[in-house]
């Protein structure tokens, strides 16, 4: 697979997710016409987006019923369900009593029946209506629908969320190559150089998560400390501090130029300490 095809993979996946067709007369469309790899890739992405809603559709969506009537459909855990309902109602009664006694509840009714009514209100979700009229908001996908009407997102922003249960990293032994588990998912043999170039392209476009992934694959193919360093920097820019730290530790370990990363280099040590602290704070 050529470098250009790897680069196209990103564009094609985004087009497929957005339910768009190939822009007529574009360089990408021309390339796909002549490149069997990319043509197949595009077909597979389109097939996937068509198959996913059917494969994943929840046959029994969230019921619009109240707590006491829930067991009607769920007969597998009636005791637990009843006890949960009882607990919830008891909790509310207790809260009401405390509120009435000490005046700490929200003003107005705190009677449990009011809350039960809340869950039982068959009001249609206005969020969906509001979302639909919102300009530029992607439409929700219909099961089995072939195309979706999303606007393609312009770019990837660095993720702001914290992933759950990130392990603390202290040594190289604790720092596996973050993408090692997915390294054998690509059947084509792609050189480390091509992965590295792809990483540069992603990074230049501000797509740091993909850049880290590409550099990581390059590093797996050829354990070059510069690649690990680039992967770490991209991962850090993408907000994946845990990955970044792992890559940095690999870069330090595999470096053959110790003068570049001396242990007494305070700046470098400070950075590792900061990242370790950030990781441990999750």
């Amino acid at each position: 697979m050529k470098l250009l095809c790897l680069w196209n993979e990103r564009h094609l996946s985004r087009l497929a997710v957005a339910g768009r067709t190939l822009p007529e007369g574009s360089r990408l469309a021309d390339h796909i016409r002549h490149c069997p790899d990319c043509r197949r890739m595009w077909q597979e992405f389109s097939l996937l987006t068509t198959a996913l809603p059917a494969a994943l559709a929840d046959p029994l969506p969230m019921p619009r019923c109240s707590l006491p009537t829930l067991p009607a459909r769920h007969t597998r855990r009636p005791v637990l369900r009843m006890s949960l309902a009882t607990l919830a109602v008891s909790g509310l009664l207790l809260a009401t009593w405390i509120g009435a006694t000490y005046g700490v509840r929200p003003k107005g009714s705190g009677h449990p029946s009011a809350v039960v009514k809340v869950f039982g209100t068959p009001t249609p979700s206005p969020l969906a209506q509001a979302a639909a009229v919102q300009k530029g908001d992607p439409a929700r996908p219909q099961p089995n629908a072939e195309k979706h009407s999303h606007a393609a997102p312009p770019c990837d922003c660095p993720p702001a969320e914290s992933e759950t249960a990130l392990p603390k990293l202290a040594t190289l032994e604790d720092a596996p190559i973050p993408r090692a588990s997915t390294s054998n998912e690509v059947p084509e043999a792609i050189s480390a150089e091509d992965w590295g170039k792809l990483g540069t392209l992603y990074a230049v476009n501000g797509d740091y998560a993909d850049a880290a992934d590409a550099y990581g694959r390059a590093y797996e193919a050829q354990p070059d400390p510069d690649l690990a360093l680039a992967a770490g920097q991209s991962a850090e820019s993408a907000g994946e501090v845990n990955e970044a730290l792992a890559y940095y530790l690999h870069a330090l370990e595999t470096s053959t130029e110790p003068q570049l990363y001396p242990e007494e280099d305070e700046q470098w040590n400070e950075k590792l300490v900061m990242l370790s602290l950030e990781c441990s704070s999750f």
Binding site: R10, S13, R14, V17, E44, L48, T49, A51, L52, P53, A55, L56, A57, D58, P59, P61, M62, R64, L67, L70, H74, R81, L84, A88, L92, A95, P106, K107, G108, S109, A114, V115, V118, F119, T121, T123, P124, S125, P126, L127, A131, D137, P138, Q142, H150, A152, P153, P154, C155, D156, C157, P158, P159, A160, E161, T164, N184, E185, P187, A209
Partner: protein, 191 residues
């Protein structure tokens, strides 16, 4: 006091207005707020826990907690973000409890959750099972947006709200999930 939340609250009435009314004791306002966020909360919980019963329990517990904590909601905050933060925390707790019981996520996956229908299972093609297995193997940050979007039909906006991320990040993650899925399925084909 007259209720500002009618049976069908117009979308122009902001969440914060409703929250203020709910804090003042208007239970129908709280009902309207719950109706606005119930589906997206359930979609998130289901994508996260992959078990319908557990997802429903979690969402209901979340709304009970939200009701109890109404007094702590500040009007300067975004109601949706506040609500979804509580849902996310409860889902994390549920996952933690499950891990403590050594009950891995795969066991609670969609296929096992639909257990009572063997016909469905028989009819499901090998390809669909492969697809479900590939989805279960996706990293969480890709899997949850994918399940919410294609499984529950949530919009980018709703997923972004549920996860506390931007809409463009959601688009990027969905595309990334698609790339990973394709690679994994192609790998399965080669085997």
């Amino acid at each position: 006091m007259t209720s500002i939340a009618m049976a069908q609250t117009p979308p122009e009435v902001t969440d914060e207005t409703l929250a203020k009314a709910a804090q003042a004791g208007d239970t129908t306002a709280f009902a309207a707020l719950a109706a606005r966020y119930r589906e997206v909360a359930y979609a998130y919980a289901y994508a996260c826990l992959r078990n319908r019963d557990e997802a429903e329990d979690t969402v209901q517990e979340a709304f009970v907690r939200i009701y109890q904590a109404l007094g702590r909601f500040r009007s300067s905050e975004c109601w949706g973000a506040w609500t979804m933060r509580i849902v996310r925390n409860l889902c994390t707790d549920a996952l933690r409890r499950r891990r403590r019981k050594n009950f891995p996520l795969e066991e609670a996956s969609e296929v096992s959750d639909r257990g009572p229908s063997p016909e469905q299972f028989m009819l499901a093609s090998a390809r669909t099972r492969e697809l479900n297995a590939a989805i279960a193997a996706l990293p969480e940050k890709y899997r949850i947006p994918l399940l919410m979007h294609y499984g529950s039909g949530r919009t980018y906006r709703e997923i972004a709200l549920a996860l506390g991320l931007s809409e463009s990040t959601i688009g990027g993650r969905l595309a990334g999930a698609l790339r990973l899925l394709r690679r994994r399925l192609r790998q399965e084909e080669i085997r």
